[in-house]
């Protein structure tokens, strides 16, 4: 029985199209042009309890919108969704007590007050029993190593510390489902790593279900077994991280270690030469042609070592984003 079930979910909205120029601005006072943006179209997805799923996609692809739809913050224009048996946008208290949303770019803690005060407020709002509250808070602050910072005003915390506090605020009521929208954005490598480790530990301990969007491949590689690629509001891929490379990259990298004095001249006849740093040479060739190319090269050159690899994930994703952005431009419908 899946814990999150999404069927043909769609969300589109109209935006005011601002035109360049003074005259156009004045005209804009009397007559406005709108454009329909389809942020999410016909998304269907099902997630089982205890899964840690990553949403991958370029900016504006609809990842955040999907999370917001699942949080009940915005209403869909079509389709249905059910999280733990609730329809999110009905916004029942019972549902809202069971999940949490963390957004890396927005903060919910009171800026001028110590985080502790915001946590107390959460305790009241979620009606958390004092003993549970204290033990959860102790556990979380210890895991994230922020016990000393609890009484310091939030505005004095570093970005990483603030994010940790945001996480604590979101987890105080022990949600069963957690939505994370770019939780590590703007953080340095150490803070990123800390938060990754914490999330992995917490998710394994509690067995909660987490949906995460991130631009950092490291986050995703470290945390998620399942990856959903969204571009242009639709799901392009759903499977393992390795599967992303399989299905989106048509090429492989062949790395050769040439023998001494063997020159790399002429290799470009057989495959695209990625780099030459003698004695190392990297070739890129179509998946289907790997065996044939390799056979030819081995025959004609003196090679000491050879390996065949997938292209790096970042590269595949970057290509994916680039094609996604191109199609997005083409599919936005202009209307009045």
């Amino acid at each position: 029985m899946p814990i999150i079930e999404i069927n043909n979910l769609s969300k589109s909205y109209r935006v005011y199209q601002k035109r360049e120029g003074l005259l156009a601005s004045i005209r804009g006072l009397f007559h406005r042009e709108y454009r329909d943006v389809h942020a999410v179209r016909d998304v269907s997805l099902s997630v089982d309890k205890g899964e840690f799923v990553a949403f991958l996609g370029p900016n504006g692809a609809g990842k955040t919108t999907t999370l917001k739809l699942l949080s009940g913050v915005i209403y869909p224009t079509g389709g249905s969704a059910s999280v733990m048996g609730y329809t999110p946008w009905v916004r029942e208290n019972a549902y809202r007590r069971k999940f949490a949303l963390v957004m890396g770019q927005k903060n919910q803690l009171w800026w001028d007050l110590p985080a502790q005060e915001s946590f107390r407020l959460h305790q009241q709002i979620y009606r958390i029993d004092q003993r549970d509250f204290q033990s959860t808070l102790d556990e979380l602050t210890e895991l994230l190593d922020v016990s000393e910072l609890l009484s310091r005003p939030v505005r004095e915390l570093s970005l990483g510390e603030r994010m940790k506090m945001e996480l604590i605020a979101a987890l105080l009521h022990s949600p069963e489902v957690l939505f994370l929208d770019e939780p590590t954005i703007g953080l340095d490598v150490v803070a990123q790593h800390n938060i990754q480790q914490f999330l992995r530990y917490y998710q394994e301990q509690r067995g909660i279900t987490i949906l995460l969007t991130s631009h950092y491949m490291k986050d995703i590689a470290a945390l998620c077994k399942r990856v959903v690629v969204i571009t242009d509001g639709t799901i392009k891929f759903d499977g393992s991280l390795a599967g992303v490379i399989d299905s989106f990259s048509g090429t492989k990298l062949v790395r050769l270690q040439l023998a001494d004095r063997q020159s790399a001249d002429g290799l470009e006849q057989f495959a695209e030469v990625e780099s030459v740093e003698l004695p190392k040479v990297t070739l890129r060739c179509e998946k289907s042609a790997v065996t044939k190319t390799l056979a030819t090269v081995l025959q004609k050159y003196e090679v000491e070592d050879v390996s065949v690899e997938d292209p790096p994930l970042e590269e595949v994703i970057a290509d994916l984003y680039a094609t996604g952005a191109a199609t997005e431009q083409a599919t936005q419908e202009v209307s009045r």
């Binding site: 913050v73 007050l113 005060e117």
Partner: protein, 289 residues
Amino acid sequence: MPIPPEPQHPSYAKVFLTFARNSLVRDMMFRANFLIEAVSSLSWAVMNVGFYWIIFEHANSIGAQTGWEKYEFFVFMGTTWIINSIVQAFFMPNSEEFSELIRTGGLDFAMLKPIDTQFLISLRKVAWSSLANLVLGIVIVAISLAQLASRAEDPWQFQPAMLVLYPLYIACGVAILYSLMICLAATSVWLGRNQTLYDFWFYITNFSRYPMEIYARGWGLPLLVVFTFVIPVLVVVNVPARLLAEPLSPRASWEWPLAGFTLLATLGCLCFSRWVFRTALLSYRSASS
């Protein structure tokens, strides 16, 4: 003993107290600012008193035969300050922030909480410094009543019913103004940036700052009707001030029906604001990061 069921609703009173407490902690962190704010809102009030003082130097009542002579009018003005300061302390900062939350997408967090969103949005912060005017309002009312009670002809007399009716109608006035304000703030969902919210609020409530009799002439009558029955800002101060400043009986024939109507209007306004708020949430788009 059976295990109590998991509480579904937070205790609203406790949440509110936490809000009030947090706001106070925050205000006390910026103590100088707090003092300056209190002083500046007080000086605004004092300037208004000064203005009317000057007017009463030249005239002895607002309108002929309306009964709003100097001290009756100061009771009216004191009541205005009391009501406005309550609204400004509890609702104004939140309504302003509501527009901001809509614009920046910060409303997301409020909507996630298992608590009535309107409650959360309306009472998040308390501007304690605005309560300075509440004190001033009470002082003005008290002094004016003392003046009225000690005058030679037709002195003012205390009646026990005032103790119930005056606070009741103050509460009604606050509720009506709150409804209006939250409706205005909610329009930022459709209008985008809504800087003029505060202006609009000021201009509309401006009508409530004067005795309603002044509109009862010429082309003021349609205004009187609109601002009594459509947007009932005229009853906000007029009804409680009138109850206090003038003897309960005899009364003009229209006063008791007006008082009854005020109760209905309060209820209507609250329901309407709730409806507007909900509709606004439906249209909320959540500004992306």
